[in-house]
Amino acid sequence: MDTDYGGFKTTTFDSVVNWSRKFSLFQYPFVTACCGMEYMAAACSHYDISRFGAEIPRFSPRQADVLWVVGTITHKMSPILKTIYDQMADPKWVIAFGACASSGGFYQNYSVLQGIDRLIPVDLYIAGCPPRPEAVLDGLMELQNSIQNDGPKANGITPTAIRHENQKVDQLNQYFEISKKEVFENQQNPKSNRVSKPGFTYSEDFINVSPHIGYDSPKMQKDKAALKED
């Protein structure tokens, strides 16, 4: 792609912009659980995440590029995570750090969200319970690769920007739907300042997670059903 013309170098504008973006990632650490220890280890001087240009954690989502979701996310926490994600300015990326953020981990009970990708788009999953700092740095480098090479439909994968764009469209649609409905104060607890939607009854809408370990995509479910029929 790059061609050498005797001391000059030509390239595309996108690759220059992506190059500058991937080496100046401002992070927002959304730390909720024990994975935070490994995040701190990776961020501190021993492993030194600043070697990869991800030096400064910003504790305002408005100033951050990468959302690190580090640890277990409960259903009670999920509106907060969504708000943080919404407050971040484009372009933005999301990393699911560890087993709990990626899939719910070993929590499959009444309180834990089974993977944050059911709520917000995720660009990178780091495996481990918790991941070693080496795995964190490896994941960061993978993210940098993806930022550099994120062109239209690279390798048949929907590019990051498009998926975040889709999320935005979904949210706008939801917003207009909600504005049509009535919004009323929480009746169960008059002291709560949270607002509930009417008609949002959980007895019918609750999600039954199948008893096996892990999460199946609809495609996998279809495949399994086909296998059973055979």
Partner: protein, 186 residues
């Protein structure tokens, strides 16, 4: 294996300890059972006697339980026991350096018990947690509402008849169709 069990059984003493005898003298109608394990006494009392017994335990100089350590409930549904719930109270005395466990049985259709918030202020959040997780109502509690779960949550998750995989998300969740792989694995 039989030996292990028999050893454990032998550690449970059926003889009444000092505090048990004291409670039996003061509240002869209220005490329905007792046992002790390695010197820690447990007394089972009637529900209606909880408030006077707790007041006695706090104020009497032979007891002087200054600290309300813990409060929780046990759901005995799968052990086929009636009444279904068992309240467990733990007290500690700094003066005498002794402990006492009080148990109260509660029926399923009448999950009400007197709050002891006016005796120990520390019991406030314990009772809220117990209400949140088990749905036990504490009469006289100043602010009995959920403490761990969100207000929209229906049911009480630590009851044994709560479905083990039932979730009640606050936001609409979407199905995950594909998880993306980047870099050298792609």
């Amino acid at each position: 294996m039989d030996e292990e069990i028999s050893t454990k059984e032998s550690e449970v003493s059926r003889e009444a300890g000092e505090l048990t005898v004291l409670l039996q003298q003061e509240f002869p109608d209220a005490v329905t059972g007792f046992h002790a394990h390695r010197g820690d006494e447990t007394v089972v009392i009637e529900r209606d006697a909880l408030e006077p017994v707790c007041r006695f335990l706090r104020d009497d100089s032979r007891c002087s339980f200054e600290i309300m350590m813990d409060l929780t409930a046990v759901d005995l549904l799968e052990m086929n026991e009636t009444p279904r719930f068992e309240m467990v109270y733990h007290f500690k005395s700094l003066t005498h350096a002794h402990r006492l466990r009080i148990k109260v049985r509660l029926a399923e259709d009448d999950c009400n018990i007197t709050s002891i918030h006016h005796l120990w202020k520390a019991v406030d959040w314990y009772e809220r947690e117990c209400f949140d997780m088990f749905g036990i109502h504490f009469e006289g509690h100043p602010d009995l509402r959920r403490i761990l779960m969100y207000d929209e949550f229906e049911g009480h998750p630590l009851r044994k008849d709560y479905p083990i995989d039932k979730q009640q998300p606050l936001l609409e969740l979407k199905e995950v169709e594909e998880r993306h792989i980047y870099g050298r694995h792609a």
